[in-house]
């Protein structure tokens, strides 16, 4: 039965780390703007590839 004690503390620790993650997300402003990141994620980071596709379009 003593194993329950260990399990409870493990579960509390895991749940606690989720709580910390949530508090961090709020603190870093992730709930402030919930729209722009959804657009931003679709932009290509690699600008060189974008330029080459742009040149293809010109032809």
């Amino acid at each position: 039965m003593e194993v329950i004690v260990i399990l409870i503390f493990i579960s509390l620790f895991i749940a606690g780390s989720f709580l910390v993650a949530f508090l961090w997300a709020v603190k870093s402003g992730q709930y402030k703007d919930t729209y722009t990141p959804s657009v931003r994620v679709l932009f290509d980071a690699d600008d060189k590839r974008v330029d080459s596709s742009n040149k293809k379009m010109k032809k």
Partner: protein, 805 residues
């Protein structure tokens, strides 16, 4: 323009998508409508930013490249300090409002500003709020240069008079998120640890019982001391003002729960009521979250400062200089360019004024002004640059002096108390009496049980369900209103709407539709020959009023017109078979203009034929669809008034809509409107004001409920309790009824929670309230109330034909 170029394929600008007048401006097979667009394209091309055009088709905005010295005020040290969010030795942060951003290309470009200038370190867009925050190295680039860079690519930031005032953002919401997160975490874990108790598992080993109890106590500490702290503070503040709000019984309940549970765990090794405590706080906070939810992207408290520019160009000894608007003095010469705002009451000195007062009065038709005429602050110049002489300082101008009125300095504008706060006084007294009576009863037979019963009554009577019913009902009603394009500032507004008994309308722009109007001719009857002549002349003009006159006259063919001349803002003239014909403003055809009359808004087009004045066309406003029916229905229940800044020319027309009992008042100045509302309120009327322009701002602020009407909700609206899309005005009756329904739902919910309280109390007074009963009863009452609130509001919305999904 050559009409032939339109036929076949229309050329559209590669940058902004507007129609190109010809194909002369082009770079590698790409056509542009103007040099501005071409310049922007070249800038992007050089900096590898052409991805801008891949994301959306023709996303650009045609820039205005003549800044001249317009941004010179951004060199002023104090202005810079006010605009910056943050500054250290190297880096500065600034946030701009950029209303032009409209698509994903805009986001991409504005977040890649560093490619245009290496001194810009980082830029982030908040699309819904149309905000751009920029980090830059201030030793390499100045604020002015950044604004010029943005303006040169078509994204000129909107720097208004209040941009410098409103720096602090609300952090309140963040705190609520923390509190909910912590309460939720603790609630979940406490429930888990309380499971043995729920299932009546006989824990023989007291070791576990103690461990679980102590862990629960530990977990409820942050809930009690942090998450629930807002209720204690609010209750204490209420008590200090000798006022019992709903937070008082809630705080009593939480306090009783915590102390009794702590006592049970620490002294008696019992289980305590920690699950009820944490659950209660968690649900209450969710209700609070719903109640505080508002429309982030809309602003409900704007005054003229959110509309007026921060700086203005003034002329000193023939040299242009840019100064803050607040430093403007009487006698200053100012230059107002196309699409700029007139910041103060002025006299036109030079140039042709075509002033758009749509945000002030609701009338969208530009007003023509000539040298020597008075121009009131708040209009937007649509024609070319004009030179003006300031005759009144900004804060003393006709429009802006409204904000010097007392009603704007009041902090809270009414003593409205919502239903739940109104009942809490009786509720708290009743609960305390019952608790004391029960304790006294038990004290005689079993003194140990007396305290037990006393706390049990306080616990079970905690008005959790009552506290939840208001936010859930009104929160959902607010969501439904939003779906139907009536955006209320907060949920309490709905409760207030249900109480009004008097409605005041503004005329222009509110019940009339700006831009749409009917034409009425007054004067001598026109002969067919004259009609044909007038029609032949107006045919040559592209002015919207000319088109309107053209459509209203009948003639199959046209006379040849010679010596045709169009003078912008004044009128048109021409000669037909030797007869000179003039069509235009009264001055234009040679009538004496009476300046003392308020002809600020009236649109009259005079006709002179062979130097004889025939008469005039009067443009009358047309009313919004369904408004007559709406007014008829409203009149059955509410006292109705109409305030108009216009002359009473429309009175006859309006009387068809309003019955004789309604008050129709004309020639009302912004201050008159405010005072009218005050008079109504002094007669114990609860007034709803529906208006649109800055001239209604005083009345909107003074009224119990101010609703500003707009054709585009992203436009500027004066401070109000709600913003309504103009298209829904004909549904006003439904909204009024629905508000009353919502309040009725709150009353019914009060009944439900009262019923649960009676059951709970019957256990409590007998000393039978076990943690299990509390743990079942409290969530059950909350869930019933919440689901009834949600279902009932949705059901009634459906019955009232309001969109609810």
């Amino acid at each position: 323009m050559n009409a032939d170029s339109k036929i076949g394929n229309t050329l559209t600008c590669f940058h902004c998508g507007d129609e190109c007048h010809d194909d002369s401006i082009k770079i590698d097979e790409k056509f542009f409508c103007c040099n501005g667009c071409k310049t922007v394209y070249e800038i992007f091309e050089q900096n590898n930013l052409c991805n801008y055009y891949n994301l959306e088709n023709s996303p650009g905005i045609s820039p205005n490249l003549n800044f001249g010295k317009r941004f010179d005020y951004l060199e002023d040290y104090l202005t810079i300090q006010k605009l910056l969010d943050y500054q250290d030795e190297k880096i500065s942060n600034v946030t701009f409002n950029i209303p032009q951003m409209h698509c994903s290309s805009c986001i991409w470009l504005l977040e890649n500003l560093y490619k245009l200038n290496k001194s810009i370190k980082n830029s982030r867009v908040d699309f819904l709020k149309k905000k751009l925050s920029i980090q830059f190295n201030h030793s390499e680039i100045s604020l002015k240069q950044i604004v010029q860079l943005l303006a040169s690519i078509g994204y000129e930031p909107q720097i208004l008079l209040d941009t410098v005032d409103q720096k602090e953002e609300k952090h309140l919401n963040k705190k609520l998120f923390y509190k909910i997160g912590i309460a939720g975490f603790c609630f979940g874990n406490v429930m888990l640890l309380s499971f043995p108790e729920y299932l009546s598992i006989d824990i023989t080993e007291t070791y576990f019982r103690k461990l679980f109890g102590h862990l629960n106590l530990l977990l409820s500490l942050p809930v009690f001391f942090y998450s629930a702290s807002g209720y204690f503070i609010s209750a204490l503040q209420g008590l200090k003002k000798k006022f019992i709000n709903l937070d008082v019984p809630i705080s009593l309940g939480i306090l009783a729960l915590f102390l009794r549970s702590a006592f049970e765990v620490l002294i008696l090794s019992g289980p305590g009521y920690f699950d009820s405590l944490t659950g209660l706080v968690f649900f209450l906070l969710i209700g609070k979250f719903l109640q505080e939810k508002t429309y982030d992207t809309l602003s409900f408290d704007r005054n003229y400062k959110s509309y007026f520019p921060l700086a203005v160009t003034i002329l000193i000894d023939g040299k242009e200089e840019s100064i803050p608007v607040s430093n403007l003095k009487t006698g200053n010469r100012i230059i107002v360019r196309k699409n700029e705002l007139i910041p103060a009451d002025c006299v036109l000195f030079n140039g042709d004024g075509r002033i758009d007062y749509s945000f002030v009065t609701g009338e969208s038709k530009p007003v023509g002004k000539v040298s020597g005429e008075m121009i009131y602050a708040g209009g937007r110049q649509l024609g070319g640059a004009i030179e003006l002489e300031v005759i009144k300082e900004v804060s003393q101008s006709y429009l802006t002096q409204l904000w010097n009125h007392d009603s704007f300095s009041k902090i809270s504008k009414s003593t409205f108390t919502n239903f739940s706060n109104a009942v809490s006084k009786y509720f708290t007294t009743a609960v305390l009496l019952i608790a004391a009576a029960a304790a006294l009863y038990w004290f005689q037979s079993d003194s140990a049980k007396a305290l037990n019963v006393f706390t049990a009554v306080l616990i079970v009577a905690c008005p959790c369900a009552l506290a939840l019913s208001t936010p859930f009902t009104l929160g959902n009603a607010m969501r439904i209103f939003g779906k139907n394009k009536l955006y209320v500032k907060n949920s309490a507004v709905i409760e207030k709407i249900a109480k009004i008994n008097s409605i005041v309308f503004d005329k222009t722009g509110t019940i009339t539709q700006p831009g749409k109007s009917d034409l009425i001719y007054h004067g001598k009857i026109l002969t067919p020959h004259q009609q044909k002549s007038i029609k032949s002349i107006v045919r040559n003009s592209t002015h919207p009023l000319s088109k309107k006159i053209f459509d209203s006259l009948e003639a199959e063919d046209f006379f040849p017109v010679t010596a045709y001349n169009e003078i912008t803002g004044k009128g048109i003239e021409g000669v037909i078979y030797g007869n000179p014909i003039k069509i235009g403003s009264s001055e234009f055809i040679g009538l004496v203009n009476d300046h003392s009359k308020n002809n600020f808004l009236k649109t009259e087009i005079h006709i002179s034929f062979n130097d004889e004045v025939l008469g005039n066309f009067i443009v009358s406003n047309s009313y919004r669809e369904g408004i007559a029916e709406t007014i008829k229905q409203i009149e059955k229940k509410y006292k109705l008034s109409l305030l108009s800044g216009d002359n009473p020319a429309e009175k006859e027309n309006l009387q068809k809509y309003f019955t004789s009992e309604s008050n129709l008042l004309f020639n009302q100045s912004p201050e008159d409107k405010l005072n009218y509302i005050k008079t109504l309120q002094s007669k114990n009327e609860i007034v709803m004001m529906i208006g649109d322009g800055l001239n209604d701002a005083g009345a909107l602020n003074q009224s119990d409920i101010g609703i500003s009407v707009t054709d585009d909700i992203s436009n500027f609206t004066p401070a109000s309790d709600a913003i309504a899309d103009a298209g829904i005005l004909n549904r006003l009756v439904d909204f009024l009824k629905y508000s009353r329904d919502s309040v009725n739902i709150i009353y019914i919910n009060f009944g439900i929670s009262f019923f649960y309280n009676v059951i709970g109390l019957s256990f409590a007074v007998q000393g039978l309230l076990s943690p299990l009963i509390a743990a079942v009863l409290m969530p059950l009452s909350s869930i019933t109330v919440v689901s009834f609130a949600t279902l009932a509001t949705n059901f009634i919305a459906k019955r009232r034909n309001l969109a609810w999904k």
